[in-house]
Subunit: 238 residues, 2 copies
């Protein structure tokens, strides 16, 4: 009988924000897989490090970070081969995922390759989005407020279609994720919409390297794991 | 010295989806508060039941479910008085919150009333949104896809302004939350947008009463704790 594939959300970075279910699956795992950027330590592995049994077999999935998607797709093909061998041998595989596996998570690439043939269980995790709201002391949404999540790359070259500008104007709460090298153009769009005063910048929420600042005081450069929260709702409880 | 107020997210319903941080805070709590709808058992308390110490003092916040906001605001005023008394006596108070405290959560009403005077820590939790995606086997968003979250009540009477219809047309992923009595009008709008085939209905994700169905096969009536996920993205990994 084939093993089961578990896609396990680890939350935003603080090991204490791992769920009890994820912790138990990791603690009793015989095979653990995780993404690692070529040449770097795996962030996912570091979040779960205190739970990984010494006896577990580890599969590091080396994913190249290129704008062209081809190389990453090949890397997921290779990872699927390695995971498949374990499942076929009857061993369960626990895949470690930063945040939530199905919310901008890389687990879905493995999921797509294996879902037709194997039993797969996805364990949801705390997203960086609500972790950022918590550390910023900023309730994201109440009652009938609309929340829109915009990955930063869509701001690049969007001057003509107006998509992000319309969202900034119309949505009650806007979450801009994955700032990285698009931080400048995002910042300019928020400024043009007159929303800089309502924008909060958060970097690496819930980790020792956490940064929380009004957008107007944010540094020039932002890492990939950073976001901006814009909450327009007036205090909705008064 | 005053106590600290903890707003603790419990996740979508499965006690195993409570984070380790939330579990530890609850296990050592001396005072625990939670919302309860008038005359009913508290859902939040039931999720955390196995963790609550027998010795803990419990504060049930009786919140009326009325369309008019006035009575609920009075209830939160009263709850704040009770919580304040504990904090002033130097005792920490752990408030149990379904899902995530700052994502359509009622904790923010208490937060607004007490944040100026007391130390408050918010512990994020797994949202029902990603839990629904997990049980539906439906990745919510990849790469640069835009996600919009629409509370169902905004569909009522929106024929004229076109807001929800525009979101259904333009957003890559649409999450419609809190269906309840607005299920009919939401369903009609999704049908009019030609998206019924891409819509999945989920009720009480991660609980023993979980329901996952294509929207076309969903029951006539939906509870408050239900949602629809519409994911338009083609398999983005192939």
């Amino acid at each position: 009988m084939s093993g089961t594939l578990y896609g396990v959300g680890l939350g935003p970075g603080d090991p204490e924000l791992i769920t009890r279910k994820a912790a138990r699956l990791i603690e009793k795992a015989t095979v653990i897989a995780y993404p690692a950027l070529a040449g770097e330590a795996s962030l996912a592995r570091s979040i779960a490090a205190d739970l990984i049994p010494e006896t577990a077999r580890e599969i590091a999935m080396n994913i190249p970070m290129t704008v062209d998607r081809g190389p990453a797709q090949v890397a997921y093909d290779l990872a699927a081969v390695a995971v498949r061998a374990e499942l076929d041998a009857g061993r369960d595989v626990v895949v470690l995922c930063e945040g939530d596996p199905f919310f901008y998570g890389s687990f879905m690439y493995l999921y797509a390759r294996l879902k037709a043939e194997y039993a797969i269980e996805v364990v949801p995790g705390v997203t960086s989005m609500t972790a950022c709201a918590s550390v910023a002391g900023l309730p994201l949404s109440a009652r009938n407020e609309v929340v829109t999540i915009l990955p930063a790359p869509i701001f690049a070259g969007s001057e003509t279609d107006g998509g992000p500008a319309r969202v900034l104007e119309q949505s009650d709460t806007v979450v801009v994720m994955k700032l990285g090298r698009h931080f400048g153009v995002v910042r300019a769009a928020i400024d043009a919409a007159g929303l800089t005063d309502k924008a909060v910048y958060i970097e690496r929420a819930s980790t020792p390297h956490e940064v929380v600042l009004p957008l107007s005081q944010a540094p020039e450069k932002a890492p990939y794991f950073s976001m901006i929260l814009i909450v327009k709702g007036a205090d909705p409880w008064l």
